[in-house]
């Protein structure tokens, strides 16, 4: 219980940092950051073996394949000490470690450069395969969007993950039912996603992606001989009522009264 309470508090703080950063930059993707927020918090503050040193080869690996959700990840990388807090107001600015999409060449703690959808999944499969070949014990966690699964390369990678029996790989699908322009089932329906993943050889769990009591056991689970997929049912824009389930908040930035309302609902204060 205490464990969950601490994570909920972290989750609240990371949502506020995310909002601070997006307001300071004037652009960024808040809806997808908030739907993935609690998954990232569970991974970084509980499930993953991370280390003080972002370059430690023995830590678990994380790939944010839906790279546009990076404000939440950046907030965490500062909080765990991988990136100095002075970077906070530099999101998307010239010379910043916090590029518009995650860039491993300039940002410590980013394990894979992403932003082009689908690529994080295939590179993540390669990382898991490489670790397995070398008999190393680190796990690889990949967070993907549901719209992202429109990309064919995702399914090529899923086929390979099961072919190579990658039981060190966990694919977490941020199932918020919205992509850039519309609801996923209206734009390009995924239909029976669980059945699809199972038929591609994954062990599948379907959970509430904002409930730490469900996230922790699912993320900790170790499969044998097959990769693991967690379908995390989430709400795009989770935490701010006017953003929730609203396609307009894929890439919007709060203005005017929306700003104070967002901070109030997240339980924080506006210091801008």
């Amino acid at each position: 219980m205490e464990r969950v309470g601490a994570l909920q508090e972290k989750a609240r703080q990371i949502r506020i940092d995310t909002l601070d950063m997006i307001l300071s930059s004037g652009s960024g993707h808040i809806g997808g950051s908030y739907s993935a927020n609690d998954i990232l918090v569970a991974l970084y503050y509980d499930v993953m073996k991370i280390s003080k040193d972002p370059a430690d080869p023995d830590r678990d690996r994380f790939v944010l394949s839906k790279g546009h959700a990076n404000p939440a990840l950046y907030a965490i990388l500062m909080d765990v000490g991988y990136v100095p807090k002075t970077a906070k107001n530099t999101l998307r600015q010239f010379g910043s470690p916090f590029q518009g999409h995650p860039d491993s060449a300039v940002c410590p703690g980013i394990d894979c450069t992403t932003g082009s959808l689908g690529q994080g999944i295939t590179v993540g499969v390669g990382m898991a395969l490489g670790l397995k070949k070398q008999h190393r014990s680190q796990r690889v966690f990949v967070v993907t969007g549901d719209g992202e699964l429109n990309e064919g390369v995702c399914w090529e990678a899923f086929m390979a993950a099961s072919n190579f029996e990658l039981d060190n790989l966990t694919i977490i699908i941020d199932r918020n039912m919205i992509q850039l322009g519309n609801n996923t089932e209206k734009l390009m329906k995924l239909g029976d996603l669980r059945g699809k993943m199972e038929s591609f050889g994954f062990m599948v769990d379907e959970i509430d992606g904002h409930d730490f009591n469900a996230l922790l056991p699912a993320l900790e689970k170790k499969t044998v001989g097959k990769p693991h997929c967690i379908i995390a049912r989430t709400v795009k824009g989770k935490g701010v009522s006017y953003m929730e389930n609203n396609v307009a908040w894929h890439g919007g930035v709060p203005k005017g009264d929306q700003i104070a309302q967002a901070y109030a609902e997240l339980g924080g204060t506006y210091n801008g």
């Binding site: 600015q93 010239f94 590029q99 992509q179 322009g181 734009l187 390009m188």
Partner: protein, 312 residues
């Protein structure tokens, strides 16, 4: 001149007008209609708009299929994704097959600045120029982009059109006629020939004003058709400026307009050549003005190169 507008919007305003008279005109996108501008078309002709989802290979493949049964598809995404991920399907299902598919790549160059280097297309010109049968277009402003729809429609075969996110002032007028494959002279000078494409033409016009105040009289040539390139006009105009030439493009220095112009001049004597382009590095995040400054892609950057070739 008037208000600043983006070529990505000009093109789709033109396509909507074209589609009123031609029922075979369709737009196809990959969940980026609000970014590429194709949502303008979707609003006007929802039944002739197809969104294939976030799937650029499928975008190109489906478009090739549509074309094979009599539709004229204009398919779009950010250039990085449609040209990048779609490339081999563009190569074989479209260019090699000589299929009548029109491809629109938006957010080209480094002016899609805040998204960062992963989203900034700097190699699309080189990639599309390298394909036989492919026509490569790059309009300089809103007015010109608007005319591209009918130019593309009238040409039977594969075409790539490069658009930009950045709103710029118009340097061409609604009345200007454009002809596929012909260079367009915007200013007549005698000291240096500045050849530019896309948004760089607008910056080149501003550069010519700086140069004029210093007594340097520049010719400005706008290249809206990068392939096939109007090498004859280019040679004439460069020679008329004593062989002094500056080529400007918002793309990597290799494989784009500059190299195309340079190779058209190799047989001439006494050419003094300079290039304003991205100097073989990727883009990055930043305010648009900061990024343009950092990469030397500014009117002053063009003027500097022009002074250098003039005083050579």
């Amino acid at each position: 001149m008037g208000e600043k507008r983006a070529t990505r919007h000009g093109f789709y305003d033109g396509l909507v007008a074209l589609a009123r008279d031609h029922e075979d005109v369709y737009a196809v996108d990959a969940d980026l209609g609000s970014a590429t501008g194709s949502s303008i078309f979707q609003k006007a002709f929802p039944e002739r708009y197809i969104d294939v989802g976030i799937a650029e290979q499928n975008l190109v493949g489906i478009s090739a299929g549509l074309a094979r049964v009599g539709i004229v598809p204009f398919c779009s995404s950010m250039a990085v994704f449609v040209v990048g991920r779609g490339f081999e399907i563009i190569r074989n299902a479209v260019a090699y097959s000589r299929i009548n598919v029109k491809i629109i790549g938006s957010h080209t160059g480094i002016t899609a600045a805040s998204d960062g280097g992963s989203h900034q297309a700097i190699a699309d010109l080189a990639a599309m120029r390298a394909l036989p049968n492919m026509v490569v277009l790059s309009p300089c402003d809103y007015n010109q982009a608007k005319k591209m729809a009918s130019v593309m429609y009238s040409h039977e075969g594969p075409v790539y059109l490069r658009t930009s996110r950045e709103p710029v002032e118009n340097v061409t007028s609604e009345e200007d006629e454009i002809t596929l494959g012909r260079a367009q002279k915007l200013r007549s000078g005698k000291d240096v020939c500045i050849i530019a494409t896309g948004m760089m033409t607008v910056l080149a016009v501003r550069a010519s004003q700086i140069l004029e105040s210093e007594g340097i009289d520049a010719t400005i040539i706008n290249i809206h058709t990068i392939k096939p390139l109007d090498t004859e006009s280019i040679r004439e105009e460069v020679i008329a400026c004593n062989g002094r030439v500056v080529v400007c493009e918002e793309a990597n220095m290799f494989g784009g307009l500059s190299e195309a112009v340079a190779s058209s001049l190799v047989e001439e004597n006494d050419i003094v050549f300079a290039q304003v382009a991205i100097e073989d590095r990727f883009g990055q995040s930043g305010a648009t003005a900061t990024i343009l400054e950092e990469y030397g892609v500014t009117p002053e950057g063009i003027a500097q190169k022009a002074r250098r070739v003039v005083h050579h």
